[in-house]
C-alpha cells in the first residue's frame, strides 16, 4: 500500500511541477503580449492625437476662410447671412422620383400598398 501512496504523491508532484512550469511560461508570454499591446496602444493614441492636432490645424478658421476666398470661382462660398434664411413654403417640392407616365401595374401582388395609395 505504502509504495502506491509514494508513487501517487510523486506523480502528483511531478504533474503539478509540470503544470506550474507551463503556467509560468504562459504568464510570461501573456505579460509580454500585454506590454506589447500597451506600447502599441500608446503609440497609436499618440498618432491619433497628432492626427487630431493636424486636423484642427488644417481646419482652423483662418485657413478655411482663405481657401474659400481662393476657390470662390468654383465653390462660391460666402459667409452665412440673415438673408439666407427662408420660409419652408418658399422651397419647391423635390421632383418626384417616379416617372409620371409609369403605367399602373395591377397584376403584381408582391408590392404591398400600391393599390391602397390611391386617394
Amino acid at each position: 500500500m505504502r509504495p502506491v501512496i509514494y508513487i501517487t504523491i510523486f506523480v502528483t508532484v511531478m504533474a503539478l511541477a509540470f503544470w506550474a512550469y507551463r503556467e509560468n511560461y504562459a504568464t510570461q508570454r501573456a505579460l509580454r503580449e500585454v506590454t506589447d499591446l500597451q506600447q502599441k496602444i500608446a503609440s497609436l493614441s499618440e498618432a491619433l492625437s497628432v492626427q487630431h492636432a493636424e486636423w484642427a490645424y488644417l481646419n482652423r478658421p483662418d485657413r478655411l476662410r482663405d481657401l474659400a476666398a481662393l476657390n470662390y470661382d468654383r465653390l462660391g462660398l460666402l459667409p452665412l447671412e440673415p438673408e439666407q434664411f427662408g420660409q419652408v413654403d418658399q422651397t419647391a417640392y423635390p421632383p418626384s422620383q417616379l416617372p409620371v407616365d409609369m403605367p399602373l401595374v395591377l397584376e403584381t401582388v408582391d408590392v404591398s400598398g400600391t393599390q391602397g395609395a390611391q386617394p
Binding site: T35, A53, A56, P61, R65, L80, P82, E83, F85, D89
Partner: protein
C-alpha cells in the same frame, strides 16, 4: 546477510584439542562484530553529515547568489499594471462647445548635451549653429568645453531639426521626449486660452503648466490625471469667435482704434460664446510680459476683463432700471433736464453742451442719453441704494470668469459715495469697471432680472441666480434700450430682423496724472438681441477710435462701436441659429390644411 557465529564449532573443537580456552574465540568474534557495527554506523553518520553539509551549502549559495544578483542589477519598475485603463500623464485638451480642438498636446523632443561624451565639441558647436540660427558657435563652444557634464540646448525641436541633429552624429547630443502644448488655431481666442510653458524639467519628461488665461485658472483641472482623458469643454464657439475677431479687427482698423474688445454672451446660461481682445498674440509663441510702457498697450492685455474703464453712458440704464424697480418713476414720467445741474461746486452738463430741456420723459432720457436726467434719477434713488444695486449686478467686484487675468481687473470705485458720485456714477463716470462686468450686468437685465454670472465653461442649463429686479422692470429696461437703437443714439446699430436693443457709452480717457484727454475716448456699445425675446448680449469696446468719413472726426460710440457691433450681430446671429424675424408672411391657406 550471513551472521558469523560467535562460537564456530570447528575452531572450538580444535582449540579444545590443543587445550586452549574456547571463550577467547568467542570474545574475539564479539569484538569483530562490534567493530563492524561501529564502522557501519559511522559511515552512515558521515554520509548524513555530508548530505546536510551539501544541502546547507547549496541553499546558502543559492540565497547568496540571489542576493548578489539583486544587489548587482539595475532597479527597474514593475512593467505590468494590474488594471486595464492606463493613466494618461498628460494635460487635458481644451475644446470649444462643439468639440473642436482649441488646445492639445503634441509629442516632440528636447535637445540636451553631455559634453563629457562629446567627440568633437568644435564641430558640434559649428553644426548646431548652422541648424539653429539663434545659437552662436563661439558661445556654444565655450559652454561645451567649460567642464560641465550636462546642458540643455533646446526645449522643443521640430522633427526636421531632430533629423539634422541626428546627422551630426555626436554621442554627446541626446534627445528627451516632451509633451508640447499646441494651439492649432493660432491667435484665435488667445486671451481666453492664455498659454502654457514647461515647469519642472527632467530628461525623460517635463511638466506642462499654464501661464495665463484659462490654462492657468484651471491648471489643477487640466493636470488632473483622472480627467486627462476628458477634454475641457469651453462655452466658446470657434466659428463665431473667428467671425467676431475678423469683424472686430476690420472695425478697429476702420476706426483707427488702438485696441478693441468684444464679448458675446448667452443671457440664459451665462456662457461666453465669444471673447475677443485686440491686439492679440499667438499663444504658441507667447511674448514676454512688457516691462516698459503701459501694460494696457501690450497684446497680452485682455481688455475684456483687465481693462477697467469708465464705461460712460452704458451705465445709465442701471439708474433708470433701479428707479423703475423702486417705483420712483415710470417710462413716461417727465423730468426737468434744463442744464446745468448744479451740485455743490460742480456743474453737470450734457454731451457737447446740448440742451434737451425743459422736460424729458424717462424713456427719452435713455434714448437721448441725458446726463442731467440720469443724474436727477440717481439723486431720487440715493447713493446707498445705488451702490447696493450696482453691487448686486456684480459691477463693483472682480469678474468671476475663469481666466487668471480676471483677478487683476478690480473695478475702481470711490471710497466715499457723496451725491456728486451718485450723479456721475449714474452716467458711468468716476467709477470704472471691466467690459466683462458690464456684459454680465446687461445679461442680468436681458435675462428677466435674475443675476447672470459669466462663465467660459460649457453648460446647457439656464442659470437660476438671485433676482436683482422684477421681470417687468427688466422688460421695460429692454424696451427703452430698443428705443435707443430705433430712434436714439445707436441708430446705426439696427440689424433688420434681429431687433437690436442697446446703449452707447462714450467716456473720455483719464490722464495718468489726473484729468481727461480732449480727443481720446473709449467707446462702448452694450447691446441685447433680439429685443422681443432677449437671447444674447454683445458688448463692443473700442479704444481711441475716430470715424473720419464726415467733415469733422467723430468720436462718439454711435459712430464707431455701434456699426461694428451691428456688423458682428449681422454675421454671428445666423451662426447662432437665430432666424431673422421679418414681416410675417401669411401662410398659404392651402398648405396650412393638413390631410
Amino acid at each position: 546477510m550471513t551472521r558469523t557465529p560467535l562460537r564456530p564449532l570447528a575452531r572450538i573443537l580444535s582449540a579444545r584439542k590443543k587445550g586452549e580456552n574456547p571463550d577467547k574465540i568467542e570474545r574475539e568474534n564479539l569484538r569483530l562484530r562490534h567493530e563492524a557495527t561501529r564502522d557501519k554506523s559511522r559511515a552512515r553518520a558521515e554520509g548524513r553529515l555530508l548530505f546536510l553539509g551539501v544541502a546547507f551549502f547549496a541553499s546558502f549559495a543559492l540565497i547568496g547568489a540571489r542576493m548578489g544578483l539583486l544587489a548587482a542589477s539595475e532597479p527597474e519598475e514593475a512593467h505590468v499594471r494590474a488594471s486595464g485603463s492606463p493613466i494618461l500623464a498628460q494635460r487635458a485638451d481644451i475644446t470649444d462647445r462643439n468639440g473642436r480642438v482649441l488646445a492639445t498636446n503634441l509629442q516632440t523632443f528636447a535637445l540636451y548635451a553631455q559634453p563629457k561624451d562629446m567627440v568633437d565639441p568644435a564641430r558640434v558647436a559649428r553644426e548646431l549653429a548652422a541648424i539653429f540660427p539663434d545659437m552662436k558657435s563661439e558661445d556654444l563652444l565655450r559652454r561645451l568645453t567649460d567642464g560641465r557634464s550636462f546642458m540643455w540646448l533646446r526645449r522643443v525641436i521640430s522633427p526636421e531639426q531632430m533629423q539634422q541633429v541626428h546627422d551630426i552624429g555626436d554621442p554627446g547630443l541626446l534627445f528627451g521626449p516632451r509633451e508640447m502644448r499646441l494651439y492649432p488655431n493660432g491667435m484665435l481666442a488667445a486671451h481666453v486660452l492664455g498659454g502654457a510653458s514647461f515647469g519642472a524639467e527632467g530628461v525623460q519628461s517635463a511638466e506642462v503648466i499654464g501661464t495665463a488665461g484659462i490654462e492657468k485658472a484651471l491648471d489643477a483641472r487640466l493636470r488632473d490625471p483622472g480627467q486627462a482623458g476628458t477634454p475641457l469643454k469651453l462655452s466658446l464657439d470657434l466659428t463665431i469667435q473667428a467671425t467676431v475677431e475678423e469683424v472686430l479687427a476690420t472695425g478697429m482698423q476702420m476706426m483707427t482704434a488702438k485696441g478693441a474688445a468684444a464679448i458675446l454672451m448667452d443671457v440664459h446660461t451665462g456662457e461666453i460664446i465669444s471673447l475677443a481682445s485686440l491686439p492679440t498674440f499667438d499663444p504658441n509663441n507667447r511674448p514676454n510680459d512688457a516691462i516698459t510702457g503701459d501694460p494696457g498697450d501690450s497684446p497680452l492685455f485682455n481688455r475684456a476683463v483687465q481693462g477697467v474703464y469708465e464705461l460712460g453712458s452704458t451705465f445709465k440704464i442701471f439708474a433708470v432700471a433701479q428707479a423703475l424697480e423702486l417705483g420712483l418713476v415710470n417710462p413716461s414720467t417727465m423730468l426737468d433736464v434744463t442744464p446745468p445741474l448744479r451740485m455743490g461746486r460742480f456743474n453737470i452738463n450734457e454731451f457737447e453742451g446740448k440742451n434737451y430741456g425743459p422736460l424729458l420723459s424717462v424713456a427719452d432720457i435713455i434714448k437721448k442719453s441725458s446726463n442731467i436726467g440720469t443724474g436727477k434719477i440717481a439723486l431720487l434713488i440715493g447713493g446707498v441704494r445705488q451702490k447696493a444695486f450696482l453691487t448686486a449686478l456684480g459691477l463693483l467686484d472682480l469678474s468671476p470668469v475663469e481666466v487668471v487675468e480676471a483677478r487683476t481687473g478690480k473695478p475702481l470705485i470711490p471710497k466715499r459715495w457723496p451725491d456728486i458720485v451718485t450723479i456721475t456714477a449714474a452716467y458711468g463716470q468716476g467709477i470704472s469697471s471691466s467690459p466683462m462686468n458690464l456684459a454680465a450686468a446687461y445679461a442680468t437685465i436681458a435675462n428677466g432680472g435674475t443675476k447672470v454670472v459669466p462663465t467660459l465653461l460649457h453648460s446647457d442649463t439656464p442659470q437660476q441666480g438671485p433676482r436683482v429686479m422684477s421681470a417687468a422692470t427688466a422688460r421695460a429696461a429692454v424696451d427703452m434700450l430698443r428705443l435707443v437703437v430705433t430712434d436714439g443714439t445707436a441708430s446705426l446699430g439696427d440689424v433688420p430682423g434681429y431687433f437690436v436693443a442697446g446703449k452707447t457709452g462714450t467716456a473720455d480717457k483719464p490722464k495718468r496724472g489726473g484729468g481727461y484727454y480732449e480727443d481720446k475716448v473709449i467707446n462702448t456699445f452694450a447691446s441685447v438681441f433680439p429685443a422681443n425675446d432677449p437671447a444674447y448680449v454683445l458688448l463692443v469696446t473700442l479704444d481711441e477710435p475716430v470715424e473720419t468719413s464726415g467733415e469733422e472726426p467723430r468720436r462718439t460710440a454711435g459712430w464707431t462701436s455701434v456699426p461694428v457691433a451691428a456688423e458682428i450681430i449681422r454675421r454671428t446671429a445666423p451662426l447662432l441659429g437665430l432666424r431673422p424675424q421679418l414681416e410675417v408672411i401669411p401662410s398659404d391657406g392651402l398648405t396650412a390644411v393638413s390631410n
